[in-house]
């Protein structure tokens, strides 16, 4: 990425105040209402440094989860939760099935698969569709956010999410998930995780531009011999199935999605609503008929 010309306007290390449209300098894009924004997470660039986890926790003032060891590689965060909105998965691929240790390096940095997981900000959005209070809404940046002052903690968005992202915080009784740093976007800043990422594995930007960028990266990797690289969550690709048109946080993967704990073909739960009601109401009609048959008589 080339440096933006405006960077030269701010040579000091201590700034007098906020830089207008800071995202233009750090992510190469202005953040303006009415445009679609999202994350492109390139797993081949991730080094598992967890800087984004820290940045996310710091900015959003999220409490620490269990600080124990899981014994599952270096993944001691485990999973996304109400207080963890970014999480890196560590998948170790040091030897192949014949037990041969790799002697050549991959076209990217190692034989580890590292994936920084986050809320996918799906479109259409299963959690929003399930929310009976309207607490979940689509913002002017085309992201999905829970309004904390509306949510009453019914918890229906939790089983609705096909990626297992949304979670209830028992302490405050509300549902929580990644907001794609809604407050930062409002202030013209890029999300904390993307800004903190030292390898540009997490790239924030306008969705269409990110799609293009991601496609180029896939082609570049293929040219280098990694012909198993593919995109997850772009329209008509794995991850955008069953009524889900696309994911606003999409990924470049090199293994099957399940390896990263992602479903290959998630479905939009609300597609099961009409068939369910049809079957249920038909049964009720049957029960009514049966009751009439049994009870009908002369008054």
């Amino acid at each position: 990425m080339t440096t933006h010309a405006r960077v030269l306007d701010y040579p000091e290390s201590t700034l007098p105040g906020m830089i207008p449209h800071e995202a233009e300098l750090t992510a190469g894009t202005r953040v303006e209402p009415g445009h679609s924004y999202g994350f492109f997470t390139d797993t081949t660039l991730c080094i598992g440094c967890k800087a984004f986890e820290v940045a996310c926790k710091e900015w959003n003032a999220l409490l620490a989860d269990d600080i124990g060891l899981t014994g599952q590689s270096y993944d001691n965060t485990g999973s996304l939760s109400a207080t963890t909105w970014r999480h890196v998965a560590f998948i170790e691929r040091l030897s192949n099935i014949q037990g041969e240790r790799a002697t050549t390096l991959q076209p990217f940095q190692s034989n580890w698969l590292l994936m920084s997981d986050v809320c996918k900000h799906c479109s259409p959005e299963p959690c929003l569709e399930a929310c009976p209070t309207g607490a979940l809404f689509r913002t002017e940046f085309d992201t999905v956010v829970v309004q904390q002052d509306v949510c009453n903690g019914c918890g229906y968005c939790v089983p609705a999410c096909p990626f297992g992202i949304v979670a209830l915080n028992q302490a405050d009784g509300k549902a929580h998930k990644c907001t794609l740093c809604y407050d930062r976007l409002k202030g013209g800043l890029e999300p904390a995780c993307a800004k903190a990422c030292p390898t540009d594995s997490i790239q924030f930007g306008e969705l269409a531009a990110r799609h293009e960028c991601a496609q180029q990266r896939v082609e570049a990797l293929r040219a280098q011999g990694r012909d198993d690289a593919y995109l997850y969550g772009t329209p008509n690709a794995p991850g955008a199935t069953g009524g889900i048109a696309q994911l606003h946080a999409f990924f470049l993967l090199t293994e099957r999605p399940e390896v990263y704990n992602l479903p290959a073909t998630p479905t939009l739960p609300s597609t099961r609503l009409a068939p369910g009601f049809l079957a249920g109401l038909t049964t009720v009609a049957g029960l009514v008929l049966a009751t009439i048959t049994v009870f009908a008589g002369r008054k």
């Binding site: 089983p159 609705a160 704990n261 009439i292 008589g297």
Partner: protein, 478 residues
């Protein structure tokens, strides 16, 4: 040779449940001979994307890929109370409109049961919210894609209509004014209809989630829930009207109970078969849920009432005891069903294998060529032989042999797991499960052979070889 002494090189052995054919080139997205099982994404392929290789049961450290719902006994109780009240209102409404002269006790009981239900249901629902003081936000919007929003509004309608009907009925009984009776009757009809919806939307609410066990029954759950509500409502009406109802009127309720019970049995068995086919049945087969489901729901809630009602019909005189027993059994069984389905749904959300398997496109789960038991036994024999050979070798050769055995045993274990997945509860399954446990134990021993810095653990090899040999002599792989 594998530089396998690095503990992190063990990933494949310890976490992947793979078939051999897919693993020839571990990182390739397509495997030869798997054309039918590949996941196709035509438009993505047009842009040059490869087909995904077939899913072979991998997970991320078996960590859940979904979050379980926060629903527990409060929601199960609401489903029970709301369903019962709704169905009672429905039955009362029908008996009122087209019933016999001796049916009014049933009509009254149904109205008051509806009243009890509408008083209790909101309490249960609000108590289950994590922020109960904001319960009214449920009525802030209407969202047609949310079963819970539809349900909240249906329940509100039911509460209002049913409350008016019951209030008018109470006034009619007290004052004798005909106009009150008329109100009770007219409002009773829409109240009954709302009650009908209340019995079934709860099933749709569960089905319209990503939880595998609930999504797998997207049509059958709503049907089963409304039929179950009908059986419990009939049972409750029968219990309450026992002292007042004429024997003809009580017999009509029993007939309805018999019909609804038969339908419940048919729906529940169909649902079970569907769960089996979709590969999500495991949480229902785990103890203590399995007992609660089989004995509590099927035994007590369905078969006992069906049997008692059938006997009752053949008896020359009506027996209060038989009728009461059947009703109590139905009520207990009805609650069991809801409580089991909610808790197993939550368990199912935490089983990544179930979820990933369940959402594979149908073509992806075509049966694979099954390995014959003979081949499994032969593999096991090969492992035993190689281990025995390894015992008499120098450390360097031993390492190579142990690696080979590790691969053979892992493959053996994978084949067994896949076979178990395919034929959930066949009579041989217990044998295979025992075999699997022992093979897993042997695998742990083999993996541990060269781990400690102290040197090679020959005793572990001996133990593993003995365990595998025992599997063979017990004939567990046949």
């Amino acid at each position: 040779m594998r530089n396998a002494r690095a503990p992190y090189g063990r990933q494949r052995v310890t976490t992947s449940l793979s078939t051999d054919s897919d693993r020839a080139q571990p990182l390739a997205l397509t495997a030869p001979g798997d054309q039918a099982r590949e996941t196709a994404f035509p438009q993505a392929e047009a842009r040059g994307a490869r087909k995904l290789r077939a899913y072979d049961g991998e997970t991320y450290y078996h960590r859940p890929a979904l979050k379980p719902s926060p629903y527990g006994w409060l929601i199960a109780s609401y489903f029970f109370v709301g369903g019962l009240a709704g169905a009672a209102q429905l039955i009362a409404g029908i008996a009122d409109v087209c019933g016999h002269d001796d049916d009014p006790p049933i009509v009254r009981a149904g109205l008051y049961m509806g009243l009890a239900g509408i008083l209790l249901s909101p309490v249960l629902l609000i108590a289950d919210l994590r922020t109960p003081r904001r319960w009214y936000n449920m009525l802030r919007i209407f969202r047609r894609t949310s079963a819970m929003s539809i349900g909240a509004w249906t329940l509100t309608g039911f509460v209002l209509l049913s409350g008016i009907a019951a209030g008018a009925q109470a006034l009619y009984v007290r004052t004798g004014a005909v106009s009150y009776g008329r109100i009770a009757r007219y409002v009773g009809v829409p109240a009954a209809l709302a009650g009908g919806v209340v019995t079934t939307y709860t099933g749709t609410l569960l089905a319209a989630t990503s939880t595998p066990l609930w999504a797998a029954g997207s049509r059958l759950l709503p049907a089963l829930f409304s039929v179950s509500a009908a059986t419990t409502a009939t049972a409750a009406l029968s219990l309450v009207t026992q002292p007042k109802a004429t024997s003809a009127s009580a017999a009509r309720l029993d007939t309805l109970a018999l019909m609804a019970g038969g339908a419940e049995l048919a729906l529940a068995t169909t649902l079970d078969r569907q769960y089996q086919q979709q590969g999500v049945v495991t949480p229902l087969q785990q103890q203590p849920t399995a007992t609660a489901y089989r004995v509590g729901f099927y035994g007590l809630g369905v078969l006992t009432p069906l049997l008692l009602h059938s006997i009752h019909r053949l008896m020359p005189r009506r027996s209060r005891t038989v009728s009461t027993l059947a009703s109590v059994a139905t009520l207990v069984g009805g609650y069991m069903l809801l409580s089991v389905l909610i808790s197993t749904g939550n368990a199912s959300a935490q089983r990544p294998d179930d979820y990933f398997q369940f959402i594979q496109p149908r073509t992806a789960t075509q049966p694979q060529p099954q390995q014959s038991p003979l081949a499994l036994a032969a593999q096991c024999q090969q492992a035993v032989d190689t281990l025995k050979q390894a015992l008499h070798e120098s450390p360097s050769c031993l390492g190579k042999d142990v690696d080979t055995v590790e691969q053979i045993v892992t493959r053996l274990r994978d084949s067994l797991i896949q076979r178990l997945r395919r034929t959930g509860s066949s009579p041989e399954a217990t044998h295979w499960q025992t075999a699997l446990r022992r093979i897993n134990a042997a695998l742990s021993l083999i993996v541990g052979v060269e781990y400690p810095i102290a040197g090679i653990q020959r005793s572990a090899i001996e133990q593993a070889s003995a365990t595998l040999a025992q599997v063979l002599t017990d004939g567990l792989l046949v």
